[in-house]
């Protein structure tokens, strides 16, 4: 099976990127090096190709009701021009995907979903729609093949976005410029004559924006951003640094901290599950988990002695017994220390619990820490 490419593939090659297979896509894992790229995002600004991600449009008079059944967060909270992080769960509370849901206008929503789950999400949503009483008032469209996306993240991102888009927004929120978007707000701006969606969100823990546009707008946007970005210290950033940035923030990565047999409650993101909503997929299972306490809990940890970096699927030990497994792990470029995430029984999930991580048959000391592992210096 041949690998897929985003519109920016040639741009990545020209920039000297190291290209790898990421879930069926040829994507840049790094350009100059993961540590330098990571620090660039934390200290200046970085630009990421996220065009492999999926975009789904859901519109119609019953779109809101359908989405509130489908997703854990309360979509009623969204005004046009607002988005929220949310999870799509199955009947046992396991995650089908984690995603962002944006309200574009009164009866139109845009979902931004994981690249690795586009087919699964569409199959799931189509199945749910078939069983939905007001299905004739909901239109479900997979726009993933027609749209691309780019993330710009870092302290200098707002200044750069304002230079890229000479506002004002043409969507409901009408800010004059991207820097006036609140967190989780979105606006539609014009790149010359092309409409582009700009949302103030990201996956790095820094201030940042995600830009969604038709495929043929992505390359001109990327090139304009690189040109104007020089003055702001902009560098292109690969998936390697994307992973170290989100791991430091303890953001889940689907397939690691979330999967079809792991619920948002177990993954510690119950904040995004509105259990007081009338009914939605997985509500009963998750309400029970919340009431009784989940049987596994996601911890964040730091290595406390000299060791090789922790990585996913390494055993976690406490008191000489294996208690769980890591789901993510890396050398944190910001802290210059090994850090990671993993699932353990609830009695080991408190912060400051001493554990060991087994790396190539040797155990090294670590300690559980509060999330996020990386806190911005104030």
């Amino acid at each position: 099976m041949s690998l897929k490419r985003t519109p920016l593939f040639t741009s990545h090659q020209q920039a000297g990127a190291r290209i790898v297979d990421f879930g069926g896509w040829e994507m840049p894992v790094q350009y100059t090096g993961i540590v330098a790229e990571h620090k660039c995002v934390r200290e200046a600004v970085g630009i990421f190709d996220i065009s492999h991600m999926g975009e789904v449009r859901i519109a119609g008079a019953a779109a809101k009701t359908f989405l509130n059944h489908l997703l854990t967060n309360d979509i009623e909270k969204l005004f046009p021009g607002q988005g929220q992080y949310t999870i799509m769960c199955n009947e046992t509370g396991g995650a089908v995907d984690d995603l962002y849901a944006y309200r574009i206008d009164a009866m139109e929503y845009l979902l931004v979903i994981n690249a690795s789950r586009i087919d699964e999400d569409m199959a799931w949503m189509e199945k749910q729609l078939k069983a939905f009483p007001q299905a004739d008032q909901v239109k479900l469209e997979n726009l993933s093949d027609q749209m691309g996306a780019v993330a710009i993240q870092g302290p200098n991102s707002a200044a750069l976005l304002d230079q890229l888009f000479q506002g004002p927004s043409i969507a409901e929120t009408h800010p004059d410029r991207p820097s006036e978007l609140e967190k989780n707000e979105l606006g539609k701006f014009l790149l010359s004559t092309d409409e582009v969606i700009v949302s103030r969100t990201g996956y790095t823990g820094e201030d940042g924006f995600e830009v969604v546009a038709a495929n043929d707008v992505i390359v001109p946007f990327w090139e304009k951003a690189l040109a104007l970005g020089v003055a702001h210290g902009l560098q292109p950033i690969g998936l390697g640094a994307r992973d170290t940035l989100r791991t430091e923030m303890c953001y889940p990565l689907y397939g690691h901290e979330l999967d079809e047999s792991t619920s948002p409650i177990e993954a510690g993101i119950g904040f995004f599950v509105a259990l007081d909503k009338e009914c939605f997929n997985g509500k009963e299972a998750m309400a029970q988990q919340k009431a009784e306490g989940p049987t596994k809990k996601l911890i964040a940890f730091k290595m406390t002695g000299k060791s090789a970096p922790p990585r996913p699927h390494y055993p976690i030990y406490a008191g000489g017994e294996k208690i769980g497994e890591t789901t993510s792990g890396t050398l944190s470029p910001s802290l210059n220390n090994g850090v990671g995430l993993g699932f353990v029984p609830p009695e080991f999930a408190k912060a400051d619990t001493e554990i060991e991580i087994e790396i190539r048959n040797r155990r090294f000391p670590a300690v559980t820490v509060r999330k996020p592992i990386y806190k911005k210096p104030s």
Partner: protein
């Protein structure tokens, strides 16, 4: 990007280098290899006194993204390991043939070096 290939060394196909002086072999990884790995964050070295066979996996080099096995280019007993790599694994990136050395071996059979690649052959391998 072109990389340095010193003339006084022998090279394994798996990118380790060997320098022989008075029956002692010094081992490290090539400039090409450190460029491929980029930021090296950890090096796991073998114990002094261990007997190695040529081709045996004996060390691990870790970058942020990957862990790679290092194979001894020759047979012998380990007489020394680089004490500075613990604190400064980045020496492998900045000075792969000098400060970034991994370990030294008392060679059991110097003729093994003939099975390794000459600098010209290694250059051809990495540029080919």
């Amino acid at each position: 990007m072109s990389s340095k290939v010193p003339e006084d060394l022998r090279f394994a196909e798996s990118h380790e280098w060997l320098r022989i002086e008075d029956g002692i072999g010094t081992v490290g990884i090539s400039d090409h290899a450190q460029q491929e790995l980029t930021d090296i964050v950890f090096v796991e070295l073998p114990e002094v006194g261990r007997q190695l066979a040529a081709g045996e996996a004996c060390a691990v080099v870790e970058s942020v993204k990957t862990a790679s096995d290092i194979y001894s280019p020759a047979s012998g007993e380990i007489t020394a390991v680089n004490p500075d790599l613990d604190a400064d694994p980045a020496n492998v990136n900045t000075d792969a043939y000098g400060a970034g050395w991994f370990f030294k071996l008392k060679l059991s059979d110097e003729s093994e070096a003939e099975k390794l690649k000459s600098p010209a052959d290694y250059k051809a391998q990495i540029e080919g």
